[in-house]
């Protein structure tokens, strides 16, 4: 697989360096840390903080941060820039995401890395700009005609916003695919003390580039094994690039149903599936002999942690887990977290239990229940009621 580490720009940080930051600002910090060079934005509450921070900081580091006239343009600018070799990101929320779905599929099909930070608000339609929601899980993941897995990472704190952004860039670059950071209004807009000395991050990675030293002709979408990631060459570089969003062979030639073309289509999914385990992040607060597993993500993961602590202090046996990697579904880690428990409680701020609906088949024989809410934060009390 084409993985190369070009640079480890892990900073040696001060012993303690506390600043007040929002989750949105920390996504921008994470992007800068990951070596993002290109940002295009369009204003939308609750994601505008990312846009503002990138406009303020990226040009100072000789990167491009520009304003697009809509979200379609914003993402298309990013994907074009990625084709020219730039690490690129945009940020939006539900209504803007609606407009980006055509272009995210193009990025997926053309294997151009891009990171999209989505800060959820209350839907549907323009919904509630300043109200929270965790109800775009299915809307975000299942957006491709053809049914492809888009990696999605969900942060629950400003610190995790930083970390998850560096991870999102890592996988976007290494797998040459769009990756989504799925934050929410509460995480994005709340300010908090952040100790920069304690931040975790992934080292900065860059897609592995093609060179003739590999001894082969350059094909835009070349791979040996279906799960391999094609070596990259930018438009404007030394090797002819043939990008296309239409079904194509390894050369990028438009084709109908040739076996090579079908292989390319399968490869797009296989290259993601081959890294499910490496992408999986589930943070478990261990509790031996637990009889209940409490699962959540985003802002609700903080509430769940508190509810689990209180419940355990009352003598209950609750194991709490914060799911950072929503997709591809971290099956192994989730099953491991569920070992020995009788009951699984999934807390998420949406009406129907969206994430619960996609993971429940993993837990055959166990009782699985949801704690849900619309337009109101889930409280520790609501979760504790479900921890019987």
């Amino acid at each position: 697989m084409a993985i190369v580490m070009v640079e480890n720009n892990e900073k040696t940080m001060n012993p303690s360096s506390i600043k007040i930051r929002t989750g949105n600002q920390m996504i921008a910090e994470g992007a800068l840390h990951a070596g993002c060079q290109f940002f295009a934005g369009y204003p939308i509450t609750p994601a505008s903080g990312v846009y503002k921070a990138m406009i303020e900081q990226l040009p100072q580091r000789n990167g491009v941060a520009i304003s697009a006239p809509d979200e379609i343009s914003a993402l298309a600018y990013c994907v074009g820039a990625s084709g020219r070799g730039a690490k690129a990101m945009t940020a939006s929320s539900g209504p803007g995401w609606s407009l980006m779905i055509e272009t995210v599929q193009y990025a997926l099909m053309t294997e151009l890395p891009v990171v999209i930070a989505l800060v959820q608000r209350l839907g549907p339609s323009t919904g509630g700009a300043t109200q929270n929601g965790q109800a775009d899980i299915l809307f975000t993941e299942f957006c491709t005609s053809g049914g492809y897995t888009i990696p999605i990472f969900a942060p629950s704190t400003p610190q995790e916003c930083f970390e998850v952004t560096t991870i999102a860039f890592k996988w976007a670059e290494l797998l040459r695919t769009p990756v989504i950071i799925l934050s929410d209004k509460e995480v994005g807009m709340m300010s908090e003390d952040v100790d920069f000395a304690q931040l975790k991050s992934s080292p900065a990675w860059y897609r592995k580039e093609f060179s003739t030293q590999n001894g082969k002709e350059h094909l835009t979408y070349d791979f040996q094994e279906l799960a391999d990631v094609p070596l990259f060459s930018p438009v404007g570089g030394n090797y002819k690039v043939t990008m296309t969003g239409s079904a194509h062979d390894k050369r990028g030639t438009l084709q109908k149903n040739s076996s090579e073309t079908l292989d390319v289509l399968i490869h797009l999914q296989k290259k993601i599936e081959a890294h499910i385990e490496e992408m999986a992040i589930v943070r478990v607060d261990e509790q031996e002999n637990a009889d209940t597993l409490l699962l959540s993500f985003g802002i609700t993961a903080r509430t769940a942690k508190e509810a689990a602590r209180r419940a355990n202090a009352e003598g209950k046996k609750v194991r709490n887990a914060n799911i950072i990697t929503l997709f591809p579904i971290p099956e192994t880690l989730l099953k491991e977290a569920a070992r020995g428990v009788r009951r699984i409680v999934v807390a998420e701020e949406n009406m129907t239990g969206q994430y619960r609906s996609v993971i429940q088949s993993l837990f055959a024989g166990k009782e699985i229940v949801g704690v849900n809410s619309v337009g109101k934060m889930i409280t520790p009390g609501m979760i504790m009621e479900a921890l019987v």
């Binding site: 520009i66 379609i72 990013c78 820039a81 690129a88 404007g236 002819k240 802002i299 903080r302």
Partner: protein, 443 residues
Amino acid sequence: MTEETVQQYAYKKENASFPFCKGCGHHHYVNHLDDALVKLNLDPKKVCIVSDIGCIGILDSLFATPHTFHTTHGRSTAFATGIELADGILNDSRMKTIVVIGDGGATIGLLHLVNAAMMNVDVTVLLANNFLYGMTGGQHSQFSPLDFVTPTTPAGNIVPPMDICSIVKTCGASFVRQAAATDKNLGNIIAEAIAHPGFALVEILELCTEWATPFNKIDGKMINGKIQYSESDSTPGRSDFSSLYKEKVLGAQKKNVDDTITPKFTSPLQGTRRIVLSGTAGEKVQLASFLFMKSAISSGLHATQKNDNPVTQGSGFSVSELCISSEEILYTGIDEPDAVIISSPEGLKEARANGTLSKCSTNTVVIAEQTLPEFECPGKVFRLPLRAICTGNRAALSALASLNVKKGWVSQEALVEMIDTKFKEKSLLYHRDIESLVPLITI
């Protein structure tokens, strides 16, 4: 002088079989584009053809050497803009980026053309206008002439056609031309457009032999009659976007204020306190909250702050919720506030509406402006002359700081330092407010 042999590059595939119907204008378009590239003799590795959707969009397959980017319907100009910005600003500006788009693409993606013209990005748009959607079965487009008969305008088109040249000109396009696909000079015009630094658009008028000519009286002569922009319409002296960005924005050093907070004070607080400030937008409610949060962090505590206001940000209520804690803060909501400060009628209205008042317990300290109407609340309510003493602008912070004198949640020394640093000589007013308010909070 030694004579150098200049390499002549080739672009189009040799003996390529064109995918277009017999007589389709797209044949001329491809050949003229090739002529232009040959004339300019650009290194094909520095050329990117960004094609749209439709019959014209599949032209990318006819070019052997330049980079090609076959995109989605109407979006070609936006992808090209991204390529050009990354090339022109992040790289050495080596590339020529050429958009190949039909009349259908031009309307579904009109904003991208408009914005590229406004930005004056160094992109060349070659618009193949055959007055209809060829690929999908000849449906009329917004470029169809009046009375044009198509499968979707069986009675003839009744809406006048779009004048794209005038649109992009209005948007500041620095190069605009129209020509028939059969024009012998088209190769030269395209070459001129590509060489032009900045946005250039050439509208190329064509016949779709499959859908236009069989049902309409339309021929080369009529097409020639439609040409209005025959001279290059250039706006001189306007820098292209990438050059301007490099000159004005890139590396521009803004003062980066170091906002690191040193926890040099201490607080005896154990556990978490949750505070709601509810007042009026523009009366420094959120600033009060921010300074208190900063003081808490300076006192070695953790803190979270979230603000709420109506969608129009500068009017109506302004609410800020604060949590301060000796421990890591997990749940960031407020189910039972430790303190509520209501400094105005808008603040009271919102505290009622969002449930803050009903969430109070008998342990909650509520400090409310004296002149507010009576309200139901289980908390210990102090109705104080906040606005008379502090005016609206200082009410929230002075009330919170006064309560802190009684409670000792954050280091008062830290809070005074924040107030002094923020308000300079005006901080005296806050000191005076606090002196007056503290004795009135009899807890």
